[in-house]
Amino acid sequence: MPPSVSSSTSTAAIAGHTIHRLLASFPIACFTLALATDIAYWRTSNLMWLEFSAWLLLAGITVGVAAALYGAVYFPVRFGFRAVRFAWPSIVGTLIVLLLALVNNLVHTADGWTAVVPWGLTLSALTVLAMLVTVWFGTSLVHDHRVGVRYYD
């Protein structure tokens, strides 16, 4: 499919997009692992898993917020505000994921069982679910709208 408008060949764009993808991979890994460690705590009552979950959520939120802020500046600058029109599912999805994780991190401050069962575990699962949907939308952004795709003229 040839591009309808001439695309930039700037490698800075690739670097910029790579940085965003690197940052965004942190919350994806952290929140997925937090679900795993929540399940581990639920099954074993071993408090070590609760401690893992709390740190994973914090790390995921911290880098996730950095990724979101970076994306909020990078994508409009690189692709123009027109791109926001196609990106809104990603934007809303990202906000939902981060909000869920934030609430979840607060739930995880409880001392023991009630930090995970039932609400912590539920929120961890919802976060991963929301993340899957968001990533799916983000991927469709690349495939359907060619965001971040580089063309050689």
């Binding site: 009552s45 408090l47 740190w55 609430v103 401050t109 001392d111 023991g112």
Partner: protein, 454 residues
């Protein structure tokens, strides 16, 4: 397009806020809760509530300005007994009338396993005050001598220095027993001596670090002088560091003074302090700090007589058989064993000091009961504690509501001081160790500033 975008965003935000609301929905709504209903043998216990953001309100420590003092009711007078101490937590009167003041700081290096521990440690440090600059040396025991019994300190000597976070102290039969953060130490000491040079003998080890969360170990001696009793607080709020971290903790130990042989005397007491034998009945009493983060009105701290071999619930249950759902796996067998304590002091007051007032020279209405030092709350929006209360006793049991005796430690949202240990001095007046105010206060009968007790 923009309209659709807008609608979608609103529904998304609404969805998440609804979820958040559902989670906080069960949080505290009882600001009209009557704190007095939690004082006495049968406290009102509301349902536990979990705040998304745990209540955390600590009074910033500002200290006492020249001329400022706590407030006492009519018939009593308060005076500054000693100042410029470094975090005094415990006062004890020796048979010759000399007063020992134990000053200490928490041991350092406690592991912080979760982000919340790191954040809370930081906030708590802020509340302790002291500001920047090097800290003055603490972890010492100072002797205060009122030579002419006029209620004023005439001599002051640092008796022991460089201790490992001492708290409890007892003198008996030529020996000064000091409960450090990890052991009971015995120093040869005769009343009158103003220095101790002999090295201590370790009577018995006590559960210590590296966590040592509730590190204050209080000490008492049985009326017959045979046994020492040492209190050991829990390593956590509600066993969230694992039950294996609680071995030998949340308990009172009985230690044979001669051999050091130790056994658990009572357990399930989250953070017991103020070990004191009732002078008439010879029964051991303690005040206990109960658990946090179940809401502003749970769980009441309490004062109780300590029965040998008894289990008081922590961590599985509170005030008898009220199960704490946070502790998993549940132990219905332990919950069933749990004894209900004698007397609730209301929630989060942080009772740390206890002394009976028999043999005091205070006005008649304060002569048959217990004084309790309440360090003050952090886990509720409205401050509770930050005062010394008096509970009247009859026939060896509490017989009425706790009354405020020494107040004025708070000034709005700031703390001038925070009471900890209490004791009766050689003249029959009440002494209060004020760790945040770095002072010891003396409360006497107003009509006789220094009335000898014998």
């Amino acid at each position: 397009m923009t309209d659709r975008f807008h609608l979608n965003r609103i529904s998304a935000v609404l969805g998440t806020s609804l979820l958040a609301f559902a989670l906080v929905g069960c949080s505290d709504s009882g600001s009209d809760f009557d704190v007095l209903s939690q004082i006495g043998p049968d406290p009102v216990l509301p349902e536990p509530s979990t705040e998304l953001l745990p209540d955390l309100k600590v009074a910033e420590v500002v200290g006492w300005k020249e001329g400022q003092a706590p407030t006492v009711p009519q018939g009593l007078t308060v005076s500054l007994y000693a100042k410029d101490l470094v975090s005094p937590r415990m006062v004890r009167t020796l048979p010759n009338g000399d007063v020992l003041v134990v000053q200490s700081r928490a041991p350092e290096g406690k592991p912080l396993p979760r982000p919340k521990d790191v954040i809370r440690e930081w906030i708590m440090a802020m509340a302790k005050g002291g500001g920047g600059g090097p800290q003055k040396e603490s972890n010492l025991i100072t002797l205060l001598r009122d030579t002419n019994r006029d209620g004023k300190v005439d001599e002051r000597h640092d008796l022991l220095k460089g201790l490992n976070s001492p708290f409890g102290i007892v003198w008996h039969d030529g020996t000064l027993y000091v409960a450090a953060a990890d052991a009971i130490l015995a120093y040869p000491y005769q009343p009158g001596q103003t220095s101790i040079t002999a090295p201590p003998k370790e009577v018995a080890p006590l559960p210590g670090g590296p966590i040592n969360h509730h590190w204050t170990k209080d000490l008492a001696i049985s009326p017959d002088g045979r046994f020492l009793y040492a209190s050991v607080g829990s390593n956590s709020n509600a066993a969230e560091r694992g039950i294996e971290a609680e071995k030998g903790r949340a308990a009172i130990w009985q230690v044979d003074r001669a051999t050091g042989a130790s056994k658990l005397f009572a357990s399930g007491l989250r953070n017991p302090n103020g070990l004191t034998f009732h002078p008439e009945t010879g029964v051991l009493w303690t005040v206990v700090n109960e658990r946090d983060e179940l809401g502003p009105n749970l769980v009441p701290d309490y004062m109780t007589s300590v029965q040998e071999g008894a289990f008081y619930g922590w961590p599985w249950s509170y005030f008898g058989n009220h199960v704490d759902e946070r502790v998993h796996p549940p132990r219905p067998d332990m919950v069933q064993k749990a004894i209900k304590p004698d007397y609730a002091l209301s929630s989060h007051v942080a009772a740390l000091g206890l002394t009976f007032s028999m043999n005091s020279a205070l006005p008649e209405q304060y002569r048959r009961g217990a004084f309790i030092g309440e360090h003050g709350s952090w886990n509720r929006h409205a401050f509770n504690g930050y005062k010394v209360v008096y509970v009247p006793f009859e026939n060896g049991k509490p017989s009425g509501k706790a009354q405020d005796v020494v107040t004025g430690f708070l000034d709005g949202d700031q703390a001038r001081g925070r009471p900890v240990g209490v004791a009766i001095d050689g003249t029959g007046a009440l002494l209060i160790a004020d760790d945040a105010g770095n002072a010891v206060w003396r409360v006497a009968a107003a009509n006789a500033a220094a009335q000898p007790s014998q």
